[in-house]
Amino acid sequence: MTSSAHAAASPRASSWANLEEAILPPVVGLLVAAIIGDILILSFGQNPGHVYRLLIEGTWGNAYGLGQVLYKTTTLTFTGLAVAMGLRAGLFNIGAESQLAAGGFVAAMVGLLLPVGLPPLITLPVYILAAAIGGGVVGGIPGALKAKFGAHEVITTIMLNFIVLALLNYLVSAHVRVADSLHTADIRTGALPRLSQYVPAFHGSAANVVIFVALATAIASGWFLFRTRRGFELRAVGMQPDAAEYGGVRVGNVWWQTMTLSGAIAGIGGLNFVLGYKHYYEEAFASGAGFLGIAVAIVGRNHPIGVVVAALVFATMSQGGLAVNAVVPRQMVDVLQAVVIIAVAASVPEVRRMLLRGRAAGERS
């Protein structure tokens, strides 16, 4: 092979290899999960084919199921993007769970203060800002602690999860809840329309227009990461903080700013439940969506497109669990989700080495 031909071919070849490297681990993860799923279903004395068919019928097979999948996809897209944004900068944000809750809480408080009856078009930007501030503050604290004191963000975000959730529980139970409930009063202004208003078939499902905010956030994240100088600096810090610092990037600033941005993205996800679905803040509404965001980011390989696809997959599994619950315990999908995460995390380095070896062999021949 001549050198010029090689140079012409290599960009395409490398982008193909990158795609392979990105997609192979999730495929491996889903295959392993399917096998473990078979074993669990058989252990319960059921037919795997039958259960998987039920799972698909209950999610993608009817409009209500699909609506529920889209609703869950929305929250997971936000938390997945939040975690992915951090990981691109080399930061592990385990705090999406409490950032999501704080975003929803602040938005709900603003909603209760706003005059009644404003149209959503005016209130939506206000709510987005409020939720972003709520989540951004909770995300920014561990970012600042890392930048200033070197406190590892994995531990501080985990610890802050407990602190923030306890604080929110206190505020709700002691100050703003409706008697004998775990939620605030109804928000009477700027409630966001459900998708069933436009597509009647979705009737009864919680899917609402926040899904469009989620998609817009995914596009904006991709643009920010790959098309702006700030995004480039963020990724540079993620790959080689020392080199980035030497190249003139203020690494500490990137750390706390990225954590704030990550928290803000997770916080906006709170709107999906608080303003799109229930129209009040309720204790523990996040119910694990923050932790699943880690899974979504890992399986989506920290790329906005991957995150949206992974959110769809995990949302389908979560909703599918409810669809099969009469036949096998729905916790089967919790197990399978964990299996997917472990298998993907374990196969990423393996696939990378395999492809490197393959490429080296290809260049020798």
Partner: protein
Amino acid sequence: MIVFAFLAQTLRIAIPYLFAASGGVISERSGLIGLGLEGYMLGGAFCGALASYYSGSPWIGLVGAIAGGIALSLTYAVTAIRFRADQVVVGIAVNLLVVGATRFFLRLAFHSSSNSPRVAGFGVEQSGSGVVALVGNPLVWLGVLAVAFVAWLLYRTAFGLRVRAAGEHPVAATSVGIQVNRVRYMAAALSGILASLGGAYLALDQHQFTAEMTAGRGFIALAATIFGRWDPVRAALACLLFAAAETFQIQLQGAQLIPSQFVEMIPYALTIIALAGVVGRAVPPAALGRVME
């Protein structure tokens, strides 16, 4: 007498923390992040209850718990070491796995989505001062022993020296002939055993397994590990401190001096303060979370 009851209740609450934090110390000192402690505890509680139910003996229950703890911690260690998976990701996934799996097998084995039937346990049937129940429960003594055992192992044995070398400077450890990965597998298994015994204590004390009965105790143990600066004795003191705060809150429940949520925050807030280094900075083992190339 009030003081006595206070101390007894504190120790009772501290026992699962002591087990799990001892496991956390040994794991993190070897270089493996201890994020799976919560999962090992819950897995130990379930396997302990299951084995006790089918055998009728709480001692067999302990064997079951240990088996579960080893299986989970080695799953974590193999994916983190052999497959070089990110330790934070796998640690969190192990916790999610155990929450789902224990509920799944709860329905499979006992046809219940919330709790197991009554199993043979160690707790004495009375809830007075709790002192009798405390002294009569062998796991209480075992929990205190676990701290001494890990302290002895870490600082007085060749294995402990290898564990510390693996966690601080794996390359140097390798150059003097230490098989770092083997040491880490053993440290992981040990942490799984210890944490699962903490979980078994909960199930066998209450004579049944309840879904998600560990309720974040593994993370409090992790907080104690860090707040105790990765030292077994200091981590144990942190466990006692956290347990005393809880006891205080329980005893004062009627008085409503401080909202319970603020007492809940104490372990986590102290850990963040320790990590930020306001009073005597907590510095983790140098090679924590890094796998040998």
